[in-house]
Symmetry: C2
Subunit: 456 residues, 2 copies
């Protein structure tokens, strides 16, 4: 291993300054205005792969943001690892809550602070640098392919088509993804499951314009009040979602599974402290980690309507809106759940109110078995670099594309993530510890060696 | 009357172009950025009064926006009319819904289109021009005083202090206000009552930052969902407000009163059509007009929280906000209702959620008896200019200051309004028919003569 750690140590300043150049490109996939930045980010990574030693690297345009593909094939008998990652990031708003500008990365307290520091530029770049090591030192044990998209944060809307059209080019034994968290470097973990996602936006309309709340209030139905009524009715007093059929496809975990998962260290007080709340609440009958890991949810991501400016404006608003997302568990189907939501939500609208509900995007949940060469290699490579066997953990997050890969390409994914829950991804002051970045590179190199060995 | 109508007719183009100059000043009292415009609007009206023939006109600074006072006293035995109006306007947002820029008045279809065309620049300016006629033609039958403030749309927060400090200067027999509507010029009405207002803003906080809805969703209480729950619980299935004590001081109207009020012409279909709804709903057991005229309400004026930008952002928000106003009926006290609201709203917050609730402003309801010289003069002056006896109407709107005048100055107000419900005040495309503006001037001149006669 010496050579690996030495190489990483000798080059870490360059690795970081290259990553910072990538982070400085504000590639926010949700925003029209950042379209040129998406191209720049893809071009940047194309150059990085070629410099690292790729045989080829090509940018494929899609109906949305482009996909970057690169590869270096060493031998027909070697297994092939397809690395997936994304160069797009979440919007940085609310900007006023950042301690330093989101797209000007800085290192403070041993952490990189910036939008994308972890999700996913920081984690993706570990693979680029691991790949560089393997090429430069001639220690490449597996064929390597890269598929890097720019629409993960908006639902990977064009990637399924891309996979279908390039099935042969993407052929591989395993897909390796670093876009998740581990408990800590001291208590390493590998994500063995993910939740799905079904994201909808609703628009509730009352009168055809904002009305004077005095001259009309009392007789005219207020769409903001109605939206609150409708949303409130979506959960019962036990914290269960009331949409008919919502739980139909949920497969309850066995007592054994739940006992296994309960071994995952979880400090409730520390967890509450880290997010500044004095109490946790959720679906009755499940633990905090189960509520996040193995149960579906319904959360308002955003709500707005009427006058939201300074001071007091006495209007009865014309419209109210909400962005509502449901996290899904294995066997729930994103589009089916969205259809159930829309049917129910429309049906509970009171007379005189019109409802528009739209499915924005989603994806299915994912579970990885623990006895495959793919998972074994992950477990061993982590143990190799962090000197501790990782715990398998069911994460609450979603990477909808993972199940699409299985469906379209017939390839299982391994989620070898090095983020921490404290990295505040999707939030102001996103950060990523430098040591995780470096240990990640080392572990990924181990994985390629271990996987070659496991497949022998 | 010949001379009056002739004078108005000969000068109407000048009247309108002067009014337009006033409207072009964006005097939005709720916005810090418009502070200089508030001064400009007050100065403009000061010059108008002096040009019209006022003995004096002076701008008094307050802790907020200035108050303009002007007067012309003709005789010690003549009764004194104190004209009240406001030069501030509501914010114009949402700007994209205006058919022409809000602060560039235009005349289309016989109407003035602009923010403030009716509320209250258009209606206030009728008094200025009526006053000009009386001065120029020597037909001033009453002493005239003007008190014009710049904070009506934000709760007249500094006017009570001003009245207390200038009680002698403001001494009068009646306060004449044109800041309300009439049914139509064909079915004239005089507002004999107003609702009060209690306006609060609430802030609901969960986690100390926006969280990833996947990594936390299910276990962490979502403040947007909670705000919806809390707001939904503020009304029961009969449309009644559930805040303990909310109805305690409400004096039910007698069957006789309700029969009288029911005579007011109201076309439900036309009303629904005018605001583009297919159904009306409100408190059970009351008619549409009663729900607006004699019953208290609770309406969301604005609500916001989480990500409200383009696309999909998967966060569990840190905060949610709402602006909530309650319209009050006689004997309900604005501050008492706000206190009841805040106490109740805070008490229903679930554990782990912190609530801030703030009383922004408010005022009491108002009722005017119909057998006083003040009201008789109003009724007769309307009959004089519109050839029809006006119907007394209880309006759903609020002019909180009216009850303050009675309390501090001991003077009753008469609400001689010429707006129409179709004027869309507080909404995009506010408008005011030119004929109402001109008929208003004529009626106001009549009022001064009638009142002198009634007081004899």
């Amino acid at each position: 291993m010496e050579t690996i750690t030495t190489y990483i140590n000798d080059n870490k300043d360059r690795f970081l300054s290259e990553l910072f150049d990538l982070i400085r490109i504000p590639s926010v996939s949700a925003k029209e205005e950042n379209k040129p930045d998406m191209i720049r980010a893809a071009e940047f990574l194309k150059d990085s792969l070629l410099k690292a030693g790729a045989d080829k690297a090509e940018i494929y345009s899609t109906d949305g943001h482009p996909v970057l593909y690169g590869e270096k094939v060493v031998s027909a008998d070697a297994p092939t690892i397809l690395v997936y990652g994304h160069y797009d990031v979440q919007p940085a708003e609310p900007l006023e809550l950042w301690n330093s500008p989101p797209f000007e990365p800085v290192i403070r307290d041993g952490k990189i602070w910036a939008r994308g520091a972890d999700d996913d530029k920081g984690q993706l770049f570990m693979h680029v640098k691991a790949f560089e090591y393997m090429c430069k030192t001639g220690n490449q044990f597996c064929n390597v392919k890269f598929m890097i998209e720019g629409e993960e944060e908006v639902g990977s809307v064009n990637l399924e088509k891309f996979c279908t059209e390039h099935k042969t080019m993407l052929a591989a034994d395993v897909i390796l993804i670093s876009d998740t968290t581990m408990i800590s470097l001291e208590t390493p973990s590998v994500t063995s499951g993910l939740r799905g996602l079904s994201y909808v936006q609703v628009e509730v309309t009352g009168p055809n314009r904002d009305l004077h709340s005095g001259l009309y209030g009392g007789a005219v139905v207020n769409p903001c009040n109605v939206l609150c009524d409708m949303i409130a009715s979506l959960k019962d007093s036990n914290g269960r979602v009331t949409i008919p059929g919502f739980y139909d496809d949920v497969k309850e975990c066995s007592a054994e599974e739940r006992t296994e998962m309960a071994k995952r260290p979880f400090n409730r007080d520390k967890f509450m402290q880290s997010i500044g709340v004095t109490q946790l609440k959720g679906e009755d009958g499940y633990s905090d980690t189960e509520r996040i890991g193995i149960r579906p949810t319904l959360d308002i991501n955003g709500i707005w309507g009427g006058y939201i400016g300074e001071g007091a404006k006495t209007i009865l608003p014309s419209k109210a809106f909400a962005k509502i997302s449901m996290r899904l568990v294995p066997y729930q189907n994103a589009e089916k759940i969205a259809a159930l939501f829309i049917k129910h939500f429309t049906s509970i609208a009171p007379e005189g109110i019109t409802v528009k509900a739209e499915y924005l995007h989603g994806g299915e949940a994912y579970v990885s078995p623990l006895d495959t060469p793919e998972y074994m290699a992950a477990s061993m490579s982590v143990e190799g670099s962090l000197s501790k066997k990782p715990i398998p953990v069911r994460s609450g997050g979603s990477i909808p594309i993972v199940s699409t890969f299985e469906k379209v390409l017939g390839i299982k994914s391994i989620l070898l993530g090095f983020g921490l829950e404290s990295d505040a991804i999707h939030s102001p002051n996103e950060n990523y510890p430098v040591v995780n970045f470096l240990k990640g590179i080392e572990t990924i190199i181990n994985y390629h060696q271990q996987y070659r060995f496991q497949k022998k």
